[in-house]
């Protein structure tokens, strides 16, 4: 019986000779990631257990991206814990200030993750790197502490679910719409504990940015990891950025899947997830009249240069609707620099946008874009739970950057075709 790509990667990170879903394994870890709100607890646990030195200072990555630039004294204290630990341990990859960006964009940009890796991060959106053909999943702080000590993680080998994509996306349809559509169909626990493997002829029509957005959101369906077999697009991206080539794996033709889902990508329209679950999706034509107070374009889901280009193309020569706050956050210094050189920031400024520094801030209701009671936002982010971006009586609507930009101009949720 053949193996899926997820099973193959995990098997290569153990001393076992065979692997099956349901097995409890200890896997060797290539990249262990933490940030300013999960790593302090991990560091505490690491010290309490007499941690000594981390298993490999080149493989433990700390990114101070959540409540930064430090939003208050407590947050500054959290970052200080990271900084001192990074110094003491001699970590190769510690990022803060102007070298720092939203972690799940920064890591692939810096070539820290390559295909075939096992990546464990104390952040639920660590699943993003599945887009590169890595096994990548989120854990809690204590799991991270254990990985920092031992270089290994305990995992239950997940069953895989195959999601077969057909056709090319239409003009304003992106990876965001594909993943929202899938979550809408299977629900927020539709892939609980499973690997979501995306395949089919539709994959080659998706950019790497699209795939990163999709893998980023598999956690919103409860999945352990999302994965795309690497292709020429992946290989070219990694070659340009990483020192390690990685291992390009693919599922065997006779690999076993627990479920199969077919998606006609060509038939999709832009999707909007209504409050308060990412699965509460509607096509843009069925949205109705929903006036909004804020539009947020950013985050590890949709704050890449590709996303900013789409938003800028629609915002060029237009302005945010009166009374609406438009916030654009390029996710890393590299994305920021590209947006600057390409003239995108000029367009956002002229559209009356606030351009924020790279940070996770507003997406999780941390800072720099909090919603008041009764306010509504369209966000290119990944979660719209109660209170996610602020007051428990505020509302978040998830959408792609094109819908976000069009909505900013019209002051209500709208598709780009309405401009």
């Amino acid at each position: 019986m053949g193996l899926t790509i997820t099973e193959k990667i995990l098997l290569r990170h153990t001393d076992l000779t065979d692997i099956r879903p349901g097995m409890l394994i200890n896997a060797r870890v290539d990249v262990a990631l933490g940030h300013d709100i999960t790593a302090p607890i991990a560091i505490d646990e690491f010290r309490k257990a007499g941690g000594g030195k981390v298993f490999d200072p080149a493989k433990v990555v700390l990114v101070a991206d959540h409540f930064t630039p430090n939003k208050d004294i407590l947050s500054a204290g959290q970052v200080k814990i990271l900084r001192e630990f990074a110094r003491e341990q001699g970590l190769t990859h510690y990022y803060e200030g102007g070298r720092c960006g939203v972690e799940h964009v920064l890591l692939h940009e810096k070539g820290i993750v390559v295909p075939g890796d096992v990546v464990i991060g104390a952040d639920s959106h660590t699943c993003t790197y599945g887009a590169l053909g890595a096994f990548s999943t989120g854990v809690g702080s204590t799991d991270l502490a254990a990985v920092m000590m031992t270089g290994e993680v305990w995992l239950r080998v997940p069953e895989s679910m195959e999601i077969v994509l057909h056709g090319r996306p239409g003009r304003w349809v992106s990876g965001k719409d594909v993943i929202l559509h899938v979550i809408g169909r299977i629900g927020v626990d539709g892939a609980l504990y499973k690997a979501m493997e995306f395949k089919g002829d539709g994959v080659s029509a998706l950019t790497l940015a699209d795939r990163l957005t999709m893998a980023n959101m598999v956690i919103e369906a409860g999945a352990k990891n999302g994965i795309f077999a690497p292709d020429a697009i992946t290989e070219a991206y990694v070659k340009e950025r990483a020192d390690r080539p990685g291992i390009l794996l693919a599922s065997d033709p006779d690999a076993r899947y627990a479920e199969r889902l077919e998606v006609d990508v060509a038939a999709l329209e832009p999707q909007v997830a209504f409050p308060h679950l990412p699965s509460n999706t509607r096509g843009i034509r069925d949205v109705g009249n929903v006036p909004i107070d804020q539009v947020y374009i950013g985050s590890c889901t949709n704050g890449r240069i590709e996303d900013l280009r789409i938003a800028a193309a629609l915002l060029k020569g237009r302005k945010a609707a009166p009374g609406l706050r438009l916030i654009v956050v390029p996710t890393t210094p590299e994305v920021y620099g590209m947006a600057l050189r390409e003239g995108l920031l000029e367009i956002f400024l002229a559209a009356d946008a606030v351009i924020g520094p790279p940070t996770c801030g507003a997406c999780l209701g941390g800072h720099m874009g909090i919603l008041a009671e009764g306010e509504r936002a369209v966000a290119t982010t990944n979660r719209n739970f109660v209170g996610r971006m602020g007051h428990t009586k505020s509302e978040v609507y998830l959408a792609n950057p094109a819908v976000a930009a069009a909505s900013a101009v019209l002051g209500r949720i709208a598709g780009p075709d309405e401009l």
């Binding site: 200890n26 409540f67 204290g77 854990v139 809690g140 204590t142 799991d143 254990a146 956690i219």
Partner: protein, 170 residues
């Protein structure tokens, strides 16, 4: 491993943002985390509960973020355990790693009214309704590895124990 307490019911897909809102994630001290337990699901929750009480929830409890603050807040608020139809996977890991006992039961939510007193027996794999009916339900036994984690007091203590016993990790 027996837990006795009153039942507080929550629905499906209770996410980590309502269990422990992100705005408190600059808090580092576990004791203080307990003070915000379930705050965005029910602002008066902490005023109502007594030590040992039990959360009973529907599907996918703890979905969303990886924040360990969520199970820590439940533990520190004095709740003894959580029984849900199912758990989100990161929350599931975190709970065992933190030493917070959690149990899956497909039936309990439909059968138990809020405020009822129950006894969860993790070792025997039963939930007993205290009071007149006295009936009991079978629950999924905790997988052996998870039981080991709970017995050792969480993941780090488990690792320490393995380390001092000189065992390898793979």
């Amino acid at each position: 491993m027996k837990f006795r307490g009153r039942v507080w019911k929550f629905g499906d897909n209770v996410d980590t943002d309502v269990i422990y809102p992100a705005r408190y994630m600059n808090i580092h001290d576990p004791k203080q985390m307990g003070a915000h337990c379930m705050e965005d699901a029910d602002p008066d929750f902490l005023k109502k509960i007594r030590p040992g009480d039990i959360i009973v929830a529907g599907e996918n409890f703890g979905c969303g973020s990886s924040r360990e603050h969520a199970p820590i807040a439940i533990r520190e608020a004095g709740l003894s355990c959580v029984v849900a139809r199912s758990f989100a996977r990161i929350f599931y890991r975190n709970a065992f790693n933190m030493g917070l006992p959690i149990f899956e039961s497909a039936e309990l939510w439909d059968r138990v009214p809020e405020g009822a007193e129950i006894e969860v027996d993790g070792a025997a794999g039963t939930i007993r309704f205290l009071g007149e009916s006295g009936e009991s339900l079978a629950i999924q036994p905790i997988p052996p590895f998870m039981l080991e984690l709970l017995k050792d007091g969480g993941l780090m203590k488990h690792l320490e124990k393995k380390r001092s016993a000189g065992e390898g990790h793979s």
